[in-house]
C-alpha cells in the first residue's frame, strides 16, 4: 500500500510539474468543446443560390422571393442565360441554380406542366441533398397554394398526406446535443491514450523504468500506480467538459451524473490499458505517437460520432465490437440525452469492462521486468 501511494504521489507530482501537459489537461476539453461544437455543425444554412429567370413574369418573381425569404438560400447571382448560370456554379460562386423557363407563367394558366430546373453542386453530397430537398419543398408548397389561388380552385390539387414527425430525445434536432456528448467522449479517449502511452515510454527513454525494475515494485503495483492518477485526470476532464456543456450550451443531462462518472471510470480503465499496451510495444515516444494515431483514428471514425455506426458495413460493425470508443459515444448519448439507466446500457458497459480486463491482463503479461 505504501508502495502504491508513493507511486501515485510521484505520478501526480510529475503531472503537475509538466506545464504543457497540465495546460493541455485543462485547455483541451474547454477549448475543443467550444470550437468543435460550433464548427462541426450539420445544419445547412446560407446556401449560395443562382437564378436564371427566363420567364420574367410576376409568377417567377414570386417564386424567387419565396426562395429568398427562407433562411436556407442567399441570392448571390442573377444570370441572364442558363450557360452563364452554370458557369457561376462551376466557379463555385453558387451552390444551387434555379432555372425558370420562359413559358413558365403561361404553362400555369394553360394548365400545362410548368417546370423549374434545379441544378446542385454535389461535391459535398450532404449539402447537395439538403439544398435540393429544401428547394423542392419550397417550390412544391408554392405550386400547391399558388396554382389553387390563380385558377380559383379550378385546378384540383392532389390530395397529400401530411407527415409530421416528433423528434424524441432531441426535440429540436439540435446538432449540438448530438455532438457534445460524443466530442466529450473523444476528448477523454485522446487524453487517456496520449497520457498513458507516452508516460511509460518516457520512463523507458529516461531509464527510470530500469531503476524501478530493480526494486520490489510488482507489475500490478506499477500498473495501478499509473492507472489511478490518469483516471483522476480523465474524470477531472469529464467534469470540465460537463461544466462547459451545462453552463455554455445549456445541455440538460437527463440521466444520472453518478452513472456517467461510473461509465467513464470503467472506460478509462480500458482506454488507459490500450495506452499502456502501446507503450510496451514502443521503444520511444515517436513510435508510440504513430501507433497511437493509427488506433485512435480508427476508433474515432468508427465510433459513430460523425456518421451513424448502425449504417456502417458489417465488417466495420465487426471492428466496433472491440472499439471501446464506439460504446462510450453511444452510452454518453444515451445517458445524457435519453436518461438511460445502468440497466439500459448494461450490454455496452459489459463490453467496455471486458475490453478493459483483457487489455490490462495483456499489459501485465507483456510488461517484463526481465528482458
Amino acid at each position: 500500500m505504501r508502495t502504491i501511494r508513493a507511486l501515485i504521489q510521484k505520478e501526480f507530482k510529475q503531472i503537475f510539474r509538466n506545464k504543457i501537459i497540465l495546460r493541455l489537461i485543462i485547455m483541451l476539453p474547454v477549448v475543443q468543446l467550444i470550437i468543435l461544437i460550433y464548427a462541426a455543425n450539420n445544419d445547412i444554412k446560407n446556401i449560395s443560390m443562382g437564378v436564371v429567370d427566363l420567364d420574367r413574369s410576376s409568377t417567377s418573381q414570386k417564386i424567387i422571393s419565396k426562395l429568398q425569404a427562407s433562411s436556407y438560400f442567399i441570392l448571390n447571382d442573377f444570370s441572364t442565360s442558363k450557360k452563364q448560370g452554370i458557369r457561376m456554379l462551376e466557379k463555385g460562386k453558387t451552390d444551387i441554380l434555379i432555372e425558370i423557363p420562359h413559358s413558365f407563367e403561361k404553362d400555369i394558366y394553360n394548365n400545362e406542366h410548368p417546370r423549374v430546373a434545379i441544378t446542385v453542386n454535389a461535391i459535398n453530397s450532404t449539402v447537395a441533398i439538403l439544398a435540393a430537398s429544401y428547394a423542392g419543398n419550397i417550390l412544391g408548397g408554392f405550386a400547391a397554394e399558388y396554382a389553387f389561388s390563380v385558377t380559383q380552385g379550378k385546378i384540383e390539387v392532389p390530395k397529400q398526406i401530411n407527415v409530421t414527425n416528433s423528434n424524441w430525445f432531441n426535440p429540436l434536432l439540435d446538432y449540438k446535443s448530438l455532438m457534445l456528448p460524443g466530442v466529450l467522449a473523444i476528448l477523454i479517449t485522446i487524453m487517456g491514450i496520449l497520457l498513458s502511452a507516452l508516460n511509460i515510454v518516457r520512463e523507458k527513454e529516461m531509464g527510470t523504468i530500469e531503476q524501478l525494475n530493480v526494486t520490489p515494485v510488482t507489475k500490478l503495483q506499477f500498473i495501478i500506480g499509473k492507472l489511478f492518477p490518469f483516471m483522476v485526470v480523465g474524470l477531472f476532464q469529464l467534469t470540465l467538459g460537463l461544466c462547459v456543456a451545462v453552463f455554455l450550451y445549456n445541455l440538460e443531462i437527463q440521466g444520472s451524473i453518478v452513472l456517467l462518472y461510473g461509465v467513464v471510470t470503467v472506460y478509462l480503465f480500458s482506454v488507459l490499458g490500450i495506452g499502456f499496451l502501446i507503450s510496451t510495444i514502443s521503444d520511444n515516444q515517436v513510435q508510440a505517437m504513430f501507433v497511437m494515431l493509427f488506433f485512435m483514428i480508427i476508433f474515432i471514425l468508427l465510433s459513430g460520432l460523425f456518421t451513424s455506426a448502425d449504417s456502417m458495413p458489417v465488417w466495420a460493425q465487426g471492428i466496433n465490437t472491440i472499439n471501446p470508443t464506439y460504446y462510450l459515444v453511444d452510452i454518453i448519448r444515451l445517458v445524457v440525452l435519453k436518461g438511460s439507466t445502468l440497466f439500459d446500457i448494461r450490454k455496452q458497459m459489459t463490453a467496455i469492462l471486458i475490453i478493459g480486463l483483457v487489455v490490462n491482463a495483456v499489459v501485465i503479461q507483456s510488461y517484463k521486468k526481465v528482458v
Binding site: T3, K10, R17, N18, G207, Q211, N213, V214, V370, V371
Partner: protein
C-alpha cells in the same frame, strides 16, 4: 560464503556473444572492481546480476538468491546504480530519495546513518530538480537512492564516467566508507587508475575475464622490464620501437611510449643507442613500474595470441 557467485554465465545477442563463460566469486564485504573498456560486457553482466536480463546459459546467485528463481528477493537486497543517470529528472533531490525509500517500504530516516556522509554534500540542493544537478551531484544522489533501503550488495555500473577528477576521488572515498559498514560492492569502471582502489579486480575484455586477483598481484604478474620512452616524434618512435628486436610490446601512453622488453639484460643505454641511430632527438628513457593498464595490455596481447 561468497556474496556473489557467477558460474559459467554466457549471454548471446543474436550472433554476438556479449559474455562468454564467466566464472567469478565475490566475497562478503568486498570492494570488487570490474575493469574493462566500453563494450567489454560489464553492463551486460550487471544486468544479469541485478535481474534486469536473463543469461543465455549458466547460473549466478546474489546473497544466496538465484538470479532467475529468486529475482524478487534479490531486488529487495541490492542497490543498483545504472551507468546512465536514471532518476526522475523532474522530481527534486529530496523527492527522488523519498520516493525510492518509500517503494522499499521505508523512510529516509530509517537508514539515514548510511547515506548521511553522502547526502550532506547534496542536501543544500535538495529542492532542486535532479535533472538540473551537475554530473558529480547526480552520481551522489544516485548513490543515495541506491543506498536508502540499506542494501546488502551494491552494484555500481560505471559510477565515475563523465565525472570530474575531484568528484571521482571523493566518490571512491565514499565507497571505501560504505565497504567499512559491511556492504559488498561491485563496481565497474573503464578507468584503469581506479582499479588499485579496489580490493580485488577482474579484467574483462570482449566478454571474457582475463584475470581476477588483487591489483597488487596482477601488477606483480607483469615480469617484463618496463620503460617509459619519450622523443620529439611520438609516432615515428612507436614505429621504430615496434621494429626493435628486443621489444616484447610497446604502446602509446599519452605523450610517452611504454616499452616492455623481452629480457632483463637490455639496458636503457642500448635503447638510447638504437633510437639515436635512427635520428631521434630529445630522447628520454625511464625505468618504470608496471601499472594496471600495462597488465591489461599484456593480457590482451596474450589473449589475442
Amino acid at each position: 560464503m561468497n556474496t556473489i557467485e557467477i558460474k559459467k554465465i554466457s549471454k548471446v545477442f543474436g550472433s554476438k556473444t556479449a559474455l562468454n563463460n564467466i566464472n567469478m566469486s565475490i566475497k562478503q564485504g568486498e570492494l570488487f572492481g570490474l575493469i574493462g573498456a566500453d563494450g567489454a560486457g560489464k553492463s551486460t553482466l550487471f544486468d544479469i546480476l541485478v535481474t534486469l536480463s536473463a543469461a543465455t546459459s549458466g547460473s549466478a546467485s546474489v546473497h544466496g538468491f538465484d538470479v532467475e528463481k529468486d529475482a524478487k528477493n534479490i531486488r529487495r537486497i541490492v542497490g543498483y546504480m545504472p551507468g546512465r543517470f536514471s532518476l526522475y529528472q523532474d522530481l527534486t533531490v529530496y523527492e527522488n530519495l523519498n520516493f525510492f525509500a518509500s517503494i522499499f517500504g521505508g523512510t529516509i530516516e530509517d537508514n539515514y546513518h548510511l547515506i548521511k556522509d553522502i547526502y550532506e554534500h547534496i542536501a543544500p540542493f535538495k529542492e532542486r530538480p535532479a535533472g538540473k544537478l551537475s554530473g558529480g551531484m547526480k552520481q551522489k544522489l544516485a548513490l543515495c537512492c541506491a543506498l536508502v533501503h540499506q542494501p546488502k550488495v551494491l552494484f555500481l555500473d560505471e559510477p565515475t564516467t563523465g565525472v570530474d577528477p575531484v568528484s571521482r576521488k571523493e566518490f571512491w572515498g565514499m565507497l571505501k566508507r560504505l565497504q567499512e559498514k559491511g556492504i559488498t560492492i561491485l563496481v565497474s569502471t573503464p578507468y584503469m587508475d581506479e582499479a588499485v582502489l579496489c580490493e580485488r579486480i577482474a579484467l574483462i575484455q570482449e566478454g571474457e575475464i582475463m584475470a581476477i586477483d588483487t591489483p597488487v598481484a596482477i601488477i606483480k604478474s607483469f615480469t617484463h622490464p618496463l620503460y617509459s620512452v619519450k622523443s620529439k616524434k611520438l609516432y615515428q618512435l612507436l614505429k621504430d620501437l615496434r621494429n626493435f628486436k628486443e621489444t616484447y610490446s610497446c604502446y602509446a601512453f599519452g605523450q610517452t611510449v611504454h616499452l616492455a622488453l623481452k629480457n632483463q639484460d637490455t639496458t636503457a643505454i642500448i635503447i638510447q643507442d638504437y633510437l639515436h641511430g635512427l635520428g631521434h632527438e630529445n630522447i628520454e628513457i625511464k625505468s618504470i613500474d608496471a601499472g594496471i593498464e600495462d597488465c591489461f595490455m599484456e593480457l590482451m596481447k596474450k589473449t589475442a595470441e
